[in-house]
Assembly symmetry: C2
Homo-oligomer: 249 residues x 2
């Protein structure tokens, strides 16, 4: 196919990040076939396939072979459903062997964690905006690394590597900004690529739409090039060296 495959892309690996515990949908009615995990898994795979707007309580119900109202016995409401989905997707990190390797090298840890989250983002492009914009549990919890468990282990790791409290916190915050910016833009671009376009995509400005913008017209090929993987890598390295100089202050 292509010379190099993006190792974080779903097709680039044996789908190690897509560890959905989802029971198969429509497993027939009857009691006992429903629980919180099944519901969240179904919701996630539904959004992965059809997008966020297609996720309604009733549609999710019928996707699971059940009436919409049945979901309310396991989930307090739609917002809680969304929060639960975000939590489940973020916790896919725990199933990622590349991330879990422990290491005394904080830079190595940072790189593996970053790629782990990138893998999640690319595996669930339609869901990532939710990860980015749902109100976090506390104002000091920053997407996308928005689980208390991961925050704790992240900060622990950096303190163990000699970072001061201040520096560890700064590292968490800088890391969050970096990931959020890069991944949100990456999935939004990719979501538009494979998004809902059957026709020649009337949303995309054709060459004729750029008449007032000669430079854009000239740069369009460059702008359309997809160097996400390389850019992500080099920005990550920039962050690492920045954190190095930030060092122990």
């Amino acid at each position: 196919m292509n010379a190099k495959v993006d190792p974080d892309s779903p097709r680039g690996r044996g789908s190690a990040a897509a560890v959905l515990p989802a029971a198969e949908p429509g497993a027939g009615a009857g009691p006992g076939n429903l629980d919180r995990r099944t519901i969240l898994g179904g919701a996630i795979s539904m959004v992965d396939r059809d997008g966020l707007r297609a996720l309604t309580m009733r549609k999710l119900g019928s996707y699971l072979g059940v009436e919409g109202m049945a979901l309310y016995r396991y989930v307090p409401g739609r917002d809680a459903l969304l929060d639960g989905m975000v939590e489940v997707v973020i916790d896919e990190l725990y199933g990622d062997p590349d991330v879990l390797l422990s290491s005394v090298d904080w830079a190595d840890y940072l790189r593996r964690l970053a790629h782990g989250i990138r893998r999640i983002a690319l595996a669930h492009p339609q869901l990532f905006p939710l990860i980015a914009t749902r109100p976090p549990a506390a104002p000091w919890v920053r997407p996308p690394l928005r689980s208390l468990r991961w925050m704790e282990s992240f900060l622990q790791n950096f303190r163990d590597c000699g970072f001061t409290d201040r520096a560890a916190v700064a590292a968490y915050q800088a890391f969050s900004s970096f990931l959020l910016g890069h991944l949100l833009l990456e999935v939004s671009a990719q979501g538009a690529d494979i998004g809902p376009m059957d026709e020649p995509d009337p949303g995309t400005p054709q060459a004729s739409d750029l008449d007032g913008y000669p430079l854009l017209k000239h740069l369009k090929p460059l702008l359309s090039e997809n160097r996400s993987a390389e850019v992500f890598e080099s920005s990550l390295e920039l962050l690492v060296t920045h954190l190095e100089t930030l060092g122990k202050n």
Copy 2:
């Protein structure tokens, strides 16, 4: 009040960024009182006050002293309304004198532009997630600098300063990621600060909730410190030096 005031915060300046052309709402019924600009302005100030969930066609109508269906003569539908709001808010940049100063120094230009967008984000914290996540006009248009006019002038400016096509495009993309990550996190934290909390905010984990996370409990004061302005500044400088080394390749 406080030693130093954030110059990008709405209270930090004479509200120069909040140039809403909004006609006063509820200006009485009768024909001729409605047009696209009024509608978008009303929608924006409504979201600024009550949040995105409160923005409904009918509620916006009655806010403007009109029946909800009247809006459809000027706006094709709700999605187009949201897109229009995003466009209007981004175009507030054109009314910002600090940004419009021309300069042969690309770094200076970048800094002024960055602060201009930060000002917009802080002036409309509830709206910024929309700026970040609405599908752009084309996959190669990246929020938050998502208007073709601004893209054109941004790229022009960098090319005039000696950047190659490639480097100018890379600068645009790096700039976008930087802004999106920082500003989205900043407004989300601030939105939670002044958000819908009347009681002691049950959403925020109290100290007792952090029992399983001793390090978090210990670092909570540091994590809650708001150094957004300084962090933004220093990350911006990091970006500038990065673009310098990226230079002309």
